[in-house]
Structure formats: structure tokens, C-alpha cells
Symmetry: C2
Subunit: 214 residues, 2 copies
């Protein structure tokens, strides 16, 4: 298997949405500038880390003043590639898929879900959170029509690899995977898995440090 290309600044990328979130609150409050130190304190980071992270956006602050909230906010959106939401199709309208369709905040995170599919004849034709569920057989047409380049996979584990292959075959370049499997994809396709087991593992280990008795 070809080694995955190592991605630079991954920890920083992970923190960016947090900065963005806080900056949006500040903007909503009408705050115009903020120092790295203040931002750090609010988010529980180190000031120097905030300065280093923000430096990657290319925005420069003013000594004694800090950073202008709006330009910084915009720069982070650009850094993350969230200015224009990418079109995505969702496959698997079970309870999880339905929950994803029901969350309408993804456009702010660069994701616009344009269509939803399911293999179950019972679901096809039903409307879920405003999306008319289509048959997985129609994926090809719809992906082409919408020029979608992301696939959200919320099918059961056993079906995920097949669904991923279907999506890739019609040109999807990124897969946001909620199925608890590691998908095998060709080079040039990116898989990002939301791994609940990983999250629970970290929670569990951290918890055993806090309460070693249990």
C-alpha cells in the first residue's frame, strides 16, 4: 500500500475551527480586535501557540493591539478552504445519516449536502429533513449532475467499502466516513473518518488517570 502523504501542521489545522468559532462569537459581540494572549486564555491554549497558529493564516497583528477580528476570521475560513462550501452527497439515511441531514450548520464548515441516498426501498422517496431520499442506484447521475466531490458515508460498516467505491467511481475525491471501518481508497482520494472508538479510547484513558480507582 502506498504510504499516506504526511500532512504538515495537522495539530494547527485541528485547532483552526476552534479559533474560528470563538472569533465568530467575538464578531457577533462587536469586538474588533483581540490579542493572542486573550484568545489563548479563553481557549485554554498557550499564547505562543496561538501566535504560531495564526501566523500560518498570513494575517499579521499589531503590537499593543492584537489582531483584527474580521480579517482574521476570514483568513481562517480561507486557510481551511471553507469560503465556498463543497458539494456533497450523503449515502445512508439511517438514524445517523438522518441526524447529519438535520444539522444545518455544515455550510459554515465548507460542506453543502445536495442529495441523500439509501439502499432501502422503504426510505427511497421519503423526505428527510428536506431531502428526498433517492435510491443508491441513482448516485452516479446525481453526483455528475451536482458536480459533487465529497461523499458522506453513513451506511452500516459492512456496506461502507462498496459505497465508497461507488462514490469514487463517479468522481468523488473526498469521503467523510462515519462507518466504523477503515476504507481502502486509491491514491488521490481522501478519507476522513469520524472515529467514535478512537474518541472513546481517549476518553477512557484520560478518565482512568483522573479516577484510577475505577
Amino acid at each position: 500500500m502506498k504510504r499516506e502523504e504526511r500532512i504538515q501542521h495537522l495539530p494547527t489545522i485541528r485547532r483552526m475551527p476552534t479559533y474560528l468559532h470563538h472569533l465568530k462569537s467575538l464578531a457577533a459581540e462587536g469586538v474588533e480586535t483581540i490579542s493572542a494572549a486573550t484568545l489563548a486564555e479563553r481557549l485554554g491554549f498557550e499564547p505562543i501557540q496561538v501566535r504560531k497558529d495564526l501566523a500560518l493564516t498570513g494575517v499579521v497583528g499589531k503590537p499593543r493591539v492584537g489582531f483584527e477580528v474580521m480579517p482574521l476570521l476570514q483568513a481562517i475560513i480561507d486557510y481551511l478552504g471553507w469560503r465556498d462550501a463543497r458539494k456533497a452527497v450523503l449515502v445512508g439515511v439511517g438514524s445517523l445519516g438522518s441526524a447529519i441531514l438535520g444539522y444545518d450548520g455544515f455550510e459554515a464548515f465548507g460542506l453543502q449536502i445536495v442529495a441523500a441516498f439509501d439502499a432501502s426501498a422503504d426510505l427511497v422517496g421519503k423526505v428527510v429533513h428536506g431531502y428526498e431520499v433517492m435510491s443508491t442506484q441513482d448516485i452516479s447521475d446525481q453526483v455528475m449532475e451536482f458536480q459533487a466531490n465529497i461523499g458522506v458515508v453513513s451506511v452500516p460498516a459492512l456496506a461502507a467499502q462498496t459505497v465508497a467505491e461507488q462514490l469514487i467511481a463517479v468522481g468523488v475525491k473526498g469521503i467523510w466516513n462515519f462507518a466504523p471501518v477503515s476504507l481502502q481508497v486509491p491514491e488521490g482520494v481522501v478519507v476522513q473518518t469520524v472515529d467514535l472508538a478512537e474518541s472513546l479510547g481517549v476518553l477512557s484513558v484520560r478518565l482512568s488517570r483522573v479516577m484510577p480507582d475505577v
Copy 2:
């Protein structure tokens, strides 16, 4: 704010559930031993990384043979603290909460959801995926009764902090947070947030390296 204690070997902890998953497959196939090299190839890791990771479990392999699957599998379960599932209560039976309740594989990941709560009078009393939804007002009694020490928070962002405080007040030590907010908690309480924005940020940046044109 008190600085979060730095957790050692976090990358390894994150990979452990992946090893575990694969070892379970192997065990199911009746495979008795596996070498670090083979495991690495299957998972897309480096062999030396696998050896280093597995060393942390305390299990030792045999030269020319590899590791015994079953003891290794058990050692990882122990390492993650997943041998005895911790009791958890879930708050917020919206579409996401309902999806979580519907997934019955969490016990294998150290989490046993024993009760579900919602603030909505419409939901209280209904049965969702086998759980009778209780009023959030009853959280205290139930947490005490079940001796739950984890709270799963799947309420809207605005309610999450309040719910977290309620849970902590009745003795919950770990919070698995699905709300898109950073929860403020006292020392001695662990929050693990499933941050979809973070995941989308990483997907987006990786994607823009693969398809820079869009």
C-alpha cells in the same frame, strides 16, 4: 484557567482501537499469531510504529513468529480501560442522541448507556431504541442510582454547558460531548468532544492538496 494536563502517548492511544478492531477480525478468522509487519501492512502503518505501540501494552512477541492474537487483543482492551464498560447516561434524545442510542456496539468500546434524558415533554416517556426517555429533572436520581460516571451530551449547543454542569454536580467524571461547544469543567473532570468541525477542517485541507484547482 488551569492548564490541561498533558497526556502521554496520545497518538498511540488513538491508534489502539484500530489495532483492536483488526485483531478481533483476525481472532474471528481463527488466526492465532500475527507479526507487527503484517499488521502494519494491513493498517497502513510502519512496522516499527506498530512494534512501539504494541510494546506499551506490555505484551511481548516471539521472534520469527510475531504476537499471539488473543493475549494482544486482551492487553489492548486493558490498556484502553475497556474491560469493564463504564456506565453512562445520555442527555439529549434528538436525532443525534437517538442515533447514538441506536448503536449497540458501544459496550465493546467501554461504554454502557444506562439511561436517556431529554428536556422536551414530548419525548419524556417515549421509548427510543429500548430506552425510556426520562426528564432531565431526574438526572440526579438516576445517575446516583446507576452510579454512572460518564455523561453523553447530545443536546443543542446552547444547552450543553448547563447540562454538563448538572451532570458534574451529581458526580459524573467524564463527558463525551457531541455539542459544538467547548465545555468549561472543573479540574478532575474530563471532556472528550466529538468535533465534527475539526474533522471537516482536516478533510477540507487534505482535499485542497489533492485537488488544488477547486
